[in-house]
Structure formats: C-alpha cells, structure tokens
Symmetry: C2
Subunit: 353 residues, 2 copies
C-alpha cells in the first residue's frame, strides 16, 4: 500500500483495465489487456505494472491465476481522476427530454424521472421526493365525508396534494368547515411548513379563550395533518428487476438483502438525504455508503432543485461494475431536467381569494 504517486503509464493502464472490466465483467489478464487497449508494451511489462497497482490496493486477483479486478479504492481513483466524462449523445438527451413532459404535477414528474433513470441506465432508479418542510403551504381544504369523518386536503405551493381523513369529536356542517378553512388559509397561506407548524403548536399550547371555537378546531385538524408530515413514502424506486440481469448479484443471499433494502427503503433514504446535504453529484462505491445491504452496489446521486433551492435527490443503484461514465451523465442530465420541469411551474402561488 505504498502510496507512491502513479506514473502516467500506470494510470493509463488502470483506466484501460477498469474500462475493460466494466464492459466484460471478468477479471482481465495482461495479455488480453494489451490486445484490447492496443498498448505498445508487452504483457510482461503489464504484469509488472499490475503488480505495482495491486500493491497499492487499486486492483486485486480473485485468485492466484486469474486476471485482475478493480478494488473499491481502484474505482474510487478511477471516478475521481481518470474518468473521461464524455457528454451524453444528443439522441439520449432528446430522449430524456421527451419523456419528461414539463407540464405535469410533481408526483407524476417524479415517477417519470425514476422510470426514466432505470430505463435508460438499465439499472434501478430512485428519486427522493421533496420534503414538505422545505416547501410552502398554499391551501387547506376541509370536506365532510360522513358523520364523523372529515377529509383534509393540503396543497403545497409546488402543487403537491396531501390528504388525510380525520375524525373530529363533534360534527361540523359543511358551512362551518368552509369558514374554518377560509380563516386558516388567510392566516397561513404562503408560509413555510415549518413556520405553520411552529405556529400551530404555539396556538395549541396557548389554549386561549380568545380563539374562536371554530378556529381552534381548524387548528387542531390542521395540526393532525401537519403532524404527520414526516410520514408518507417519500421515495420512488423503479427498475429493481433490472438488477437481476447482473451475474455478480446472483448470490441469493445478497439479492434478498438488496431487494429488502429497496423495500424497506430506509437505507436508501438515509443515503439520499445525506447526499442532498452535500450537493452536487455524489458517487458511493460499494461499501462506501456504509450500508451493508448496498455493499455489492454503487450509487450515483445528484440533487435537484426547485427555484434554485435543493429539495431532493435522485440517483441510480447498480452493481459496482457499472458504466460510471454513462450513468453519471444520465443522472446529471435527469437531475437538471427534473429541476427544470419542477421549477417551471413552481411560480408564486396566487391565492387572491
């Protein structure tokens, strides 16, 4: 593991090796590497260099007499410094653009983005949906369903719609509900969710007699909905089945864990949130993510924005041996497109009622 700097030649060799391995998925030997990358030195020389690279921990042999395979460290070096990020083909970009119609509500857009990611990378796509806390509150609506069941509809400035059925203690007439909603809306429209929430908590604590009964009920109902803010299923995953195609993930045990991770979503959520905080494209190679279930995988993420503010993250999950080159471009472009599509219509909500 002596950390002598790499010579240009060994860099070039490492790059060629990783690229070949990504394509073929099998340990690459000196002879085939020379041929494939049309190097001007002999297999023996390549072997010497490979030995050095192995000593540095960048590649390894699965066993004595197989070719070499990149280690996580090798991949890391590769993506950090060796990657020639050729831009996506124009065709691909057009393809992506076409399939992300900018006139849609956020939910559809997000699902479309996830589907796109998985479709064009042939891997699994994930999108972390915007957290409500960062978005503004636009309007609240109460609606009687039956005797003791009120449907609360909450609209964010982004056009997201949340709804929940609550069971208030007493019965309200539709007129009462209407009035309550009006009062609530005029008090809070346009505020951020955190603001509204804090304000609600304060209002409930005060228990002031001054507050009208009706307003108080409205606040209570609203609080019930806002209280659930953290819930929901703010992660869209698609194309998990694509991962079945990779022989390196065929291990039943690993596969099960991986799919469970997709199902539980918890690890992925943490990972995406973590990478949202950092901003910019992030690449987690193998165990770097820190989650055992994702250990045989790499994850490439990029944040997306609404009105210049980062609100979520999207990404791709695939085997460590993925075409980082291509995937990075795709994730990048998709993030931009989604940002554009979302920003386009997240304009100042007009609530001039």
């Amino acid at each position: 593991m002596s950390m002598v700097a790499l010579t240009p030649r060994s860099e070039r060799l490492l790059k060629a090796l990783i690229e070949q391995y990504i394509v073929e998925g099998q340990p690459v030997g000196s002879r085939s590497l020379v041929k494939q990358a049309s190097l001007e030195f002999s297999p023996a020389t390549v072997r010497n260099i490979m030995a050095d690279l192995e000593e540095m921990g960048l590649i390894r042999s699965p066993h004595t007499s197989a070719g070499r395979v990149p280690t996580e460290l090798g991949y890391r070096l590769f993506v950090n410094t060796l990657l020639t990020s050729q831009p996506l083909e124009a065709v691909d970009i057009r393809d992506l653009e076409e399939q992300l119609p900018s006139h849609q509500d956020p939910q559809h857009l997000i699902e479309a983005a996830s589907g796109l990611l998985s479709q064009v990378t042939k891997l699994a796509g994930v999108v972390r949906v915007p957290r409500r806390a960062h978005s503004g509150f636009l309007q609240l609506e109460f609606l009687n369903l039956s005797a003791h069941r009120v449907l609360v509809i909450l609209v964010t400035q982004g056009g997201q719609v949340l709804n929940r059925v609550i069971q208030p203690k007493r019965r309200y007439s539709s007129a009462e509900l209407q009035e309550a909603a009006n009062m609530f809306n005029s008090a809070y429209a346009g505020r951020s969710f955190e603001e509204v929430r804090r304000s609600l908590v304060r209002a409930l604590e005060q228990d002031s007699e001054a507050m009208q009964k009706l307003m108080r009920s409205a606040v209570e109902m609203a609080h019930e909905v806002f209280g659930e803010s953290a819930e929901g299923d703010p992660l869209v995953v698609s194309g998990e089945a694509n991962l079945l195609a990779f022989p390196e993930l065929s291990d039943r045990e690993k596969l099960k864990r991986l799919f469970d991770a997709f199902n539980a979503k918890q690890d992925l959520l943490s990972l995406l949130d973590q990478s949202m905080a950092v901003g910019g494209i992030q690449i987690f190679i193998g165990g770097e993510s820190g989650y055992e279930s994702l250990e045989p995988c790499s994850v490439v993420t990029a944040p997306y924005e609404v009105d210049g503010k980062i609100v979520g993250t999207l990404g791709v999950v695939g085997p460590t041996r993925m075409s980082y080159n291509r995937v990075i471009s795709i994730v990048d472009v998709t993030a931009r497109l989604l940002s554009g599509a979302l920003t386009h219509h997240a304009g100042h909500g007009t609530n001039d009622a």
Copy 2:
C-alpha cells in the same frame, strides 16, 4: 388420462402427497409418504396407486426414478375437492385486524392490506384499487398554482383524492375558479363517475351558446381530469422480494419475467379484473391464469366490497407450491377486513354546502 373416478383411498393418498410436497418442496416417494402420513398399507401398494394417479395426469415424475410431484391438474383437484380449509388461528386473525386500522383513508388502507398480505403469507401481496367508475363523485376543486397552471382536485365519495395540473388557455382569477367549482359541484355532486363523464361529453358536444363561458371552462377542465380516469396506477404490490426465497423460482429467466410482470403490472391487472367480475375466492394455478410470466406461480384472489358492492380485488402471488390452505384463509379474511374498514366510513357523503 382415463377419467375413472378416484377411490377414496387414492384421494386420500393424493391429498397426503400434495400436502407433503407443499411442505418439503421435493418429489415425494412411496416409502417416505407411507411413513410421513402413517398409512396402513405398504410402499408397494402406494406405488400402484401412484401409477394410477400418474395415468390420470394428477401427478408426475420429474424423471424415472424420482418421487412424484403434483401436476397443475392435481393441484386443481386438490383445491377443488380435497382442501380441508381449517379456519385461521385466532391469533392470526387478531394480528390481521390490529394491523388494519379501520379509521384511515382508503389509500392507506389499501397499502396496509397489501403489506399485510405479503407479510403474513411471506409471498407477494397485490391489491387492485377500486375503479373510479364504480364510485361516486363528491367534489371538485380548482386552485391556481401560477399563471397558466390550475390544480384540479377531485374527491370521490369514498374519500379518495385525485389531483392533476392542467393548463387552461386563458388565465382565471381565483374567484372565477371558485365560482366554476361551485357550479360544477351543485350540478354533479353525488352522481356516479360514469354519469358525470357521459354528461360532460354531451355538454362538450352540444357546444351550446347557452352555456356560460365559465361553466364551459369548468366542464372542459373537469373533462380533462375525468378523461384520465383510466390512468393512474391502480395496483399496489408488496413483498415481491419474498419470492426470491423459493428455489423453484431461482431460474434467472423466469425470475426476470416474473419481476417484470410485477413491474409492468398489466398481466396482474387483467387477472385481477377478470376475477373481480366473477366474485368470490378464485385460484389460478400455474398456467391457468393464461399469462406466461405468471406461469410458475399460483394466484389466489378475493374481491372486496364497499357498501356491499364489489369494487376491487386483492390477492397473493406465490409459487405453485404454496400452502393453499393457509393462503386462502388469509386472503379471505383480509378481503373481509378491508371491506369492513372501507365500508365503515364510505357513508353517504354530506355535501350540504
């Protein structure tokens, strides 16, 4: 394949054989069957009977000298006439009940039901969500998002909320939108979706000058939303990963197809719709479903109701070798529970505004 009626003895034997195969998952031979089911005759006799059963197409040998395995026909006979459907354990029922809280909105209930199915059967659970066409229309709401973007919120009598962003040609003030919604609601509240749709089509065709401009816009907007009725993603699937645990599904090719089917959902949808039309518990064994992707699987479905009307279907997908016994009970109970939970609050919507 001579269709001589089975003797009681061969029935009993078939039953024992299938039950053992379901548990062990391996071809069962005469000797082990005698031991396991403590039969009072000898392996040789069993072999004779087995030969008969094989001739009838109820069982088969994977190869010359393996035990016997049920055929689809065998399973069919088994579930049709041999199944001793012992009721679920009280514990299990309580478990199910607890996890299906009856005070929830439909969407949550449905997701919970799907999760429950997969969780307690350790297979994949699916729920076909109610088709809007069968439900009533309760209320429509228009909301300005930005200059040319209007959020349309549609509430069904069941408490389901649908929303979509549309882009009308001209800009409307919030007051206009409010008025339009009011007019629309008073005209259509409580009608069935099909009625409303037909009426909308008629209204648009007439192109009557008599109709107010505003009302016309409202109708157009509403039509856009109603027109999309068929869309959406009316199928909830959970626990696909559970199927990874079954060795008989380990075939990479089959597995891929199966997961693709879960992803595309089209086959499953058709199957569920088909079984909704029939009503009652339905069991599709292997290829019976008619969908190649589901060929190595069996599907058990039951419809669920709201207010006594069948509105959807739920079910379980697993390997042909599943504990039909148990799965049927679970599907049945879950359907009942879901019906109950949904019916409980699908009362007459009060829209006395």
